[in-house]
């Protein structure tokens, strides 16, 4: 079975592999991606690198559809990686799809936040 399909969806695991209000890391050629699961069982993926000082977002505390970075408490929207005001910045986000309980991740970042602004 090929891991990467034509449209770039990769099967990464099952829903139960990620704790509610928790996160797991997927290592990819593009760098570490953080895969989050919220309390309403939605999944989101961001580049695992806080736009502030590169804090590992997967180690943050998830609340609502947001995550708080473990290093200096910036808060990011999981849906699009935007930093919550008054701080500014964004982390690239990646589409996630749930098929039954199988999780697929796209390695093509969603439009909106360029890598550059996240660095």
């Amino acid at each position: 079975m090929s891991e990467v399909s034509k449209d770039n969806w990769v099967q990464v695991g099952r829903l139960e592999d990620i704790p509610r209000l928790g996160s797991r890391v997927v290592e990819s050629a593009a760098g570490e991606l953080a895969l989050f699961r919220t309390s309403d069982d939605q999944l989101f993926a961001l580049l695992n690198r806080c736009p502030h000082k590169r804090g590992p977002l997967a180690d943050g505390i998830v609340h609502g559809h947001r995550v708080t970075c473990p290093l200096h408490n910036w808060v990011l929207e999981l849906e699009n990686g935007e930093v919550v005001a008054p701080d500014v910045g964004c982390a690239p986000s990646y589409p996630v799809r749930l098929d039954g309980d199988v999780v697929y991740l796209s390695l093509e970042p969603a439009a909106g936040c360029s890598e550059k602004s996240a660095a």
């Binding site: 804090g55 180690d59 943050g60 290093l71």
Partner: protein, 811 residues
């Protein structure tokens, strides 16, 4: 269809209620506002600077007409309500308009009391309440020369000051022998009077107005003793009366004001009331701070959240006369049960008086130097025990030798370039700009927008001062702070709910006490998780997702996302075997650096998250356990070599240190908790800056509590002396347990002790052996579940998902 909300009174309290409501539920109601005045809501407090020519009217507008539009509010200005029809649930205005309501909010404020003497109705006799009054005064100042202000209180003096600034010749008539007798004692009052006299204000004290003279327009006043004074303008500032006619005529129960309960409801539950028109628990208020608190509670109930309670306010006063610094709060006169401490420098024009009751501030009057007013007020409201700082209290907060608050006293004199927050490099100018530019009112706002005070927090005092000096009297020190933005509950209320309702999971807390957010946030979740474990050590479910990463994975996260590994070294004594184990681990896992810590342990830095379980398993096999250097937990017990080796040692400090650590390791705490045992009073283990310290003495052990190093160093207080190691252990555990049960999350023992007072702790530990024993027992119960080594468990595979990537793709 939406429910209809009608607000009568387009003033400060009513509109603040709507603003608070919009924060909670912006779309709940169709809202109609009726205002008697022709203006949108403005800041009534700033009428005095407008009168004095220091501000223009449009600078004091709080909500523009666009604001009403944007929020979908129907605004009827210049349209006083004449009648409330409670049966038909509608209000009827003077011009015959009407509006139906499902809920009604009355915020009609108050009206100036006009003394009913002959002539009171003459032209040129006015109160000081709204823009119309200010316009009349400004017009009079252009045309006439002599003004008379009746009433030497806050409002009267501000009016008189403004009229002098407008070029009038002003006499203040006061019934009492001293000015502002409701806020000031005689000394402060006399100081105030002489500096106002120096500005040209004249006084007629102990004078009772008998009649106002003139035909058509006022031309003078006659006093009870028969004497007369000429005047072309008379401003009555002798007090206010809650505007309750409307409510009373509608059959709503009123006494002095509209009587409301703790949820701001009148006797008709559909009818709410807030502001100066209200009487709550027998009190009517005439300052904005309490009205804003009422507004918040009222909004909470209008949004049908149903948990806010208003329980009354403590208020403080400042006089807004430029060049005069005056502050007053609480029971400033004192009585038989109080003591006072005084500072007087008549030449320098400075007077300070603090009234103390049971070692707590009960009231304060400051004149000439008021910069510490906010601090005293905060100490007063929080009921802080000041016995320890009593001798330095009057010199102000900056005299406490606290580096973090060092610049405090200069807040207003600081230059814009002066750095306030050393952690985030924020200067005073940045803060002032954010406050004025973005309309900030609270320390939390400033933190969010500038980051000042958002890190170590030691500059918060200074930020508060800057807020105070930038906003003037608009800024009031908030009372009990809610735990975080997700709730209105305080730490204490949350703890109480957890205990009383036997809540054992974070989710249960959110469900039972109505959190505003679905899963809380990074501030409240860790706090609640701790409170649950502390209250129900045997039942509570520990929630890893509610722990900060360090506690979740049992290592300290570093700036590059790697982790540090600090094994426990009991009491600070190690062995060649342990050292070898550490050396082998460091080599095997190729750690970045090995470092001796400040707490007598050894730190291996730069370990990758994936490698943690393996290095822990390796150390566990060699007999080492987690050092908890990452947790809000018992950290280290430091010791010196003591009587075993040292020529001065009086007791076995190393052995005792080890026993203490064996007793307490693994225990979760509100904040980190450190101990030390020194073998003699030379104190080489620095026991007197630890949360719990033991100094061995010839006759036994001296026990110390409440010290820490850090930003704000605090030396310990002595708890007591004991004679055996067994007693030391019992006291240590009992003290720890008291702290665990009573302190707020993230409150270390030093600030906790300063808040509750040393006596609070002594009463429970020293004076009451039964209570001490009970605390000790509860500590042991809670330790049963905490003394499992988290490292060994994870070395064996527990929580493996925390450490392993879910997947590796193409790497």
């Amino acid at each position: 269809m939406k429910e209809r909300l009608v607000l009568i009174g387009n003033g400060m309290a009513g509109i603040r209620t709507l603003e608070e409501l919009f924060k909670l539920d912006p779309d709940k109601y169709d809202i109609t506002v009726f205002g008697a005045e022709p203006h949108p809501n403005y800041n009534r407090i700033l009428l005095s600077p407008v009168l004095a020519g220091e501000k223009a009217f449009d600078e004091i507008v709080l909500n523009s007409r666009e604001w009403y539009e944007e929020n979908g509010i129907t605004l009827r200005t210049g349209s006083p309500v004449m009648r409330i029809d409670r049966v038909g649930r509608r209000v009827i205005t003077a011009d015959g308009g009407e509006a139906g309501y499902d809920r009604l909010l009355i915020a009609t404020g108050s009206t100036p009391f006009i003394i009913p003497v002959p002539g009171a109705e003459l032209e040129g006799v006015i109160g000081f309440r709204d823009i119309k009054d200010v316009e009349l005064m400004l017009a009079a100042a252009r045309q006439y020369r002599r003004a008379l202000v009746i009433g030497g209180g806050l409002l009267g003096l501000e009016a008189a000051n403004g009229l002098i600034k407008q070029g009038m010749d002003v006499t203040v008539v006061h019934l009492m022998e001293s000015l502002m007798e409701r806020q000031l004692d005689q000394t402060a009052s006399a100081l105030l009077k002489s500096s106002l006299e120096a500005d040209g204000m004249k006084f007629r004290m102990e004078a009772q107005t008998a009649a106002i003279l003139g035909e058509g327009r006022v031309n003078g006043v006659r006093f009870a003793d028969g004497s007369e004074l000429d005047a072309d303008l008379v401003v009555m500032a002798v007090g206010i009366r809650p505007s309750i006619t409307l409510a009373r005529e509608a059959g709503i129960y009123c006494e002095r004001g509209i009587v409301v309960n703790d949820t701001m409801q009148s006797f008709d539950p559909r009818v709410y009331a807030v502001g100066e028109c209200v009487q709550h628990r027998g009190q009517c208020y005439g300052l904005v701070a309490p009205l804003f608190e009422q507004a918040k509670v009222c909004a909470n109930h209008l949004a049908e959240l149903g948990y806010g309670r208003y329980t009354g306010s403590v208020t403080s006063t400042k006089l807004k006369v430029t060049g005069i610094d005056l502050f007053s709060a609480g029971n400033f006169m004192g009585d038989d049960s109080t003591e006072e401490i005084l500072f007087q420098d008549p030449a320098g024009g400075v007077y300070k008086k603090l009234v103390l009751k049971d070692n707590r501030i009960a009231g304060a009057v400051l004149y000439g130097e008021t910069i510490d007013g906010a601090w005293y007020f905060q100490l007063m409201r929080s009921g802080t025990d000041v016995s320890e700082i009593r001798d330095k209290l009057l010199f102000g907060q900056h005299h406490l030798g606290d580096s973090g608050h060092g610049g405090q006293n200069q807040a207003s004199g600081m230059s814009d370039e002066a750095q306030v927050c050393d952690c985030n490099g924020v200067c005073k100018g940045d803060i002032v700009k954010a406050i004025t530019g973005k309309g900030l009112f609270t320390v939390d706002d400033v933190k969010a927008h500038t980051k000042a005070g958002a890190s170590c927090g030691s500059c918060i005092g200074l930020v508060e001062q800057i807020l105070g000096s930038t906003l003037g009297s608009d800024y009031s020190v908030p009372e009990a702070k809610p735990l975080c933005k997700c709730t209105d509950f305080t730490h204490d209320q949350v703890k109480q709910a957890i205990r009383e309702q036997a809540l054992t999971s974070v989710r249960a807390v959110f469900d039972k006490i109505e959190w505003r957010t679905p899963d809380g946030c990074h501030v409240c979740r860790p706090a609640i998780n701790y409170y649950l474990l502390a209250a129900w050590p045997e039942q509570a479910e520990d929630d890893p997702q509610s722990r900060f990463i360090n506690e979740r994975v049992h290592g300290n996260i570093q700036k590059d996302g790697s982790f540090s590994v600090i094994p426990r070294i009991w009491g600070g004594r190690t062995t060649p075997d342990e050292l070898r184990a550490i050396a082998d681990a460091a080599e095997k896992f190729d750690v970045g650096e090995v470092h001796f810590t400040g707490g007598q342990r050894i730190n291996m830095l730069g370990v990758k998250k994936q490698d943690l379980p393996a290095i822990w398993a390796f150390l566990a096999e060699r007999g080492m356990v987690s050092g908890h250097a990452y947790g809000k937990a018992l950290r280290t017990v430091k010791s010196c070599v003591g009587s075993e080796w040292c020529r001065f040692g009086t007791q076995d400090s190393t052995g005792l240190g080890i026993r203490l650590e064996e007793l307490t390791w693994g225990s979760w705490m509100p904040h980190k908790f450190k101990m030390a045992v020194s073998g003699c009073p030379r104190n080489c283990a620095e026991a007197t800056i630890k949360d719990f310290g033991v100094v061995c003495i010839d006759s036994g052990y001296e026990l110390h509590i409440g010290g820490n190093g850090g930003v704000k160093v605090r030396a310990t207080d002595v708890l007591c002396r004991v004679t055996s190691e067994e007693e030391v252990l019992e006291y240590a555990a009992a003290f720890t347990q008291l702290y665990r049960e009573d302190a707020n999350y993230l409150e270390r023992t030093a600030p906790w002790l300063e808040r509750v007072g040393l006596n609070f702790i002594k009463e429970r530990l020293v004076d009451d052996p039964e209570r001490r024993r009970a605390l000790y027992d509860r500590f042991l119960v809670s330790q049963q579940r905490s003394q499992e080594d988290p490292w060994a468990a994870r070395g064996k595979g527990e929580q493996a998902h925390e450490f392993k990537p879910l997947k590796q793709i193409g790497v």
